[in-house]
Symmetry: C2
Subunit: 394 residues, 2 copies
């Protein structure tokens, strides 16, 4: 079985509003972040299966023949085949309890490869290379972008979903049904990497755009605008677990103060959703951008009230506000990443100056967008040259 | 009638929690600010009545004989005698609609003098000198401290309230009944100066301590702790009226977001009140100071959400937090003043460094306290030397 070559990409994820409040039953808005993860899958005649993850210095290869005995008949797409995970853990020499990102990425790859080709007469040999614009472990859904790319590429290589790029199209997405399948498989990979993921990250990486997440239910918004943003990584390390429990402690200490704050955050998310729907259907106005900015300011203060602010995030807000730009943390807070909204009329020079100053302050900063497409199939010529170089280098 | 000499003082006012929210029916806590206004009333045989207000460059004198015809039989203590105000306006040459602080202070003085001595056979000649540690027009109740001093000194000169300083006491307060009278008269002076005051400022200047203000009702807390603070004046000018209407606009624009914020502020005030009561009755613990700090941080964010923050206030919060100290705006915001809580164990050196840095940043800054006594009668030797010098210079 020869599988040819394909390029796929999937976006990262940011939380626009509702981080932390979502844990307490409130609405959150998750958005695709157009810092993308790119994957090249290439069929080979080497009899080997190789995975190259240069971002995290992980390069592994195995003889397909050695993997063949691990194939199970059970398809791993709808629920996680824990026995297969155990067999793969032993096979790849990954200790129980390891959380090393390279090990986890390798396990997820082997699992999706083996379950994807379960039932195939012979396992195909192939080389898979992944490169991501996303920082790892920054709460930007880099693992979901990875598992969505893997899932799309492997399902397409197997022929379970289509692989057709109609000329002159240089990128293509999949049907709703195929996307649902990609997402389901990717979710199994996410479970291997994270244990108990919410499913939001892989849904965003699959569908792109903006998703509403409420009480465990994920609903894509049908039409959303593309918003220009700066994404800033303060590089201040934090523990999401500790931050989440800190918020819980604060709610317990001051229920009469904190419960209304969560309600207000919920209303911020809902107001933002409404505003984005209007922008997508009736065209964006300056007033709507004003509203988006106000909502970001309000929520940033609410998150500080919850105790997940950080001086580095205050610096981000202050530096960008000096350019008339509004920012908030995204995700767990306590450092980590923040987003800054750019308006359609924000001059490139202004955005660039803000980026320079943020880098000067010791942060990583990218000009990108949110609300863009989910997983995509590419022809090689449609890829940014730098990405193509990394994916095709030897 | 000769009236002798007396020294009185009254404190300024700060809002600890609930500014702006109080306009929307929520609880506010007003506290006495131990930056005091001092008054010396001295009976003279000059046949003149003189008022000296060096803080606002106002020095006026009139022949008592010229004032005599303006005396009305009506006592002006319980409601404002608008006719008398009009006659005094004409007498003192103050144009209708003037809001000049010197003119208003003179009008209030003449009004309280004339109504205080209404019914007296002859008006006494006297010199009144007032000097205040409070900045004027900074929302710190300087006019109420002034009218409370005037009211206490004039009522005491008239003999309506007592004037006894029992040795070795060097300061004394008045009975509850007498304080109620002082406050009522001072409120008339406040009406002349402000038109439609809430009555909170003069109540704080009269009773000191901490007052709860809710739906127009003013309730002094029976026992409160004295708290060390820094009071900072950012000197950023602002219009209280515009700020109040800005908050209203924001509530109208985002009711579902803002109504819970007001509820949360209400809960901050109530939680603070409870904590202060506990501190006063059971002794203050480090945990209670932690709570007071947390409440200040929370409310400062809420006030920013209401749109009454300012970069100068952010600077105040940032600079003090670098010393482990927590700050919030007090009063209208949008600039104006802020308070910084000092803990009992905060070293003098730390407080002093913070004061230096705040002054370096262009702010005025005082180390003082909140929750201290209201209006006091002093003997000359109990006054700070600098104050005595100003009040007795010629």
């Amino acid at each position: 079985m020869h599988v040819g070559e394909r390029f796929v990409s999937a976006p990262g994820k940011a939380i626009l509003h509702g981080e932390h409040a979502v844990v307490h039953g409130k609405v959150a808005l998750a958005v695709s972040l157009n810092l993308r993860t790119y994957l090249r899958l290439q069929g080979t005649a080497s009899g080997q299966i190789c995975i190259h993850l240069p971002n995290i210095d992980t390069f592994r290869a195995w003889d397909v023949a050695a993997l063949q005995p691990l194939v199970s008949d059970r398809k791993g797409g709808t629920s996680l085949d824990l026995e297969l995970v155990e067999r793969l853990r032993a096979f790849a020499g990954v200790a129980e309890g390891s959380t090393d990102s390279g090990n986890m990425a390798v396990l997820a790859f082997l699992y999706l490869y083996l379950s994807g080709f379960a039932g195939a007469q012979t396992l195909p040999s192939m080389s898979v290379r992944v490169w991501s614009e996303l920082p790892t472990g920054a709460g930007l859904g880099s693992s979901a972008a990875y598992t969505v790319c893997l899932s799309a590429a492997l399902l397409s290589a197997r022929g379970t979903i289509s692989s057709l790029l109609t000329q002159p199209q240089d990128t293509a997405s999949w049907s709703e049904e195929e996307l649902t399948l990609i997402n389901k498989w990717a979710f199994q990979g996410e479970k291997i990497i994270h244990g108990n993921p919410s499913g939001v990250d892989n849904a965003v990486a699959t569908w792109g755009g903006i998703l509403r997440y409420h009480a465990g239910k994920i609903t894509p918004l049908s039409r959303v605008p593309l918003l220009r943003i700066l994404l800033t990584n303060t590089k201040v390390p934090r523990s999401t677990k500790l931050l989440v429990s800190g918020v819980k402690d604060k709610i317990n200490k001051f229920p009469s103060i904190m419960v209304p704050v969560l309600e207000s955050v919920d209303a911020v998310s809902r107001t933002c959703e409404l505003t984005l729907r209007e922008m997508a259907t009736a065209g964006a106005s300056a007033q709507q951008y004003d509203t988006l900015e106000e909502l970001m300011d309000i929520n940033q203060h609410h998150l500080s009230v919850m105790g997940v602010g950080h001086p580095a995030l205050d610096t981000l807000c202050r530096l960008t506000l000096a350019h008339g730009l509004h920012s908030k943390l995204t995700g767990a807070g306590g450092g980590g990443c923040g987003i800054t909204l750019l308006r359609p009329e924000t001059a490139q020079r202004v955005a660039q100056e803000a980026v320079w100053e943020l880098r000067e302050a010791g942060f990583e900063c990218w000009e990108t967008s949110i609300g863009g497409p989910g997983v995509l199939l590419h022809c090689a010529t449609s890829l940014p040259q730098g990405v193509l170089d990394v994916l095709t280098s030897h």
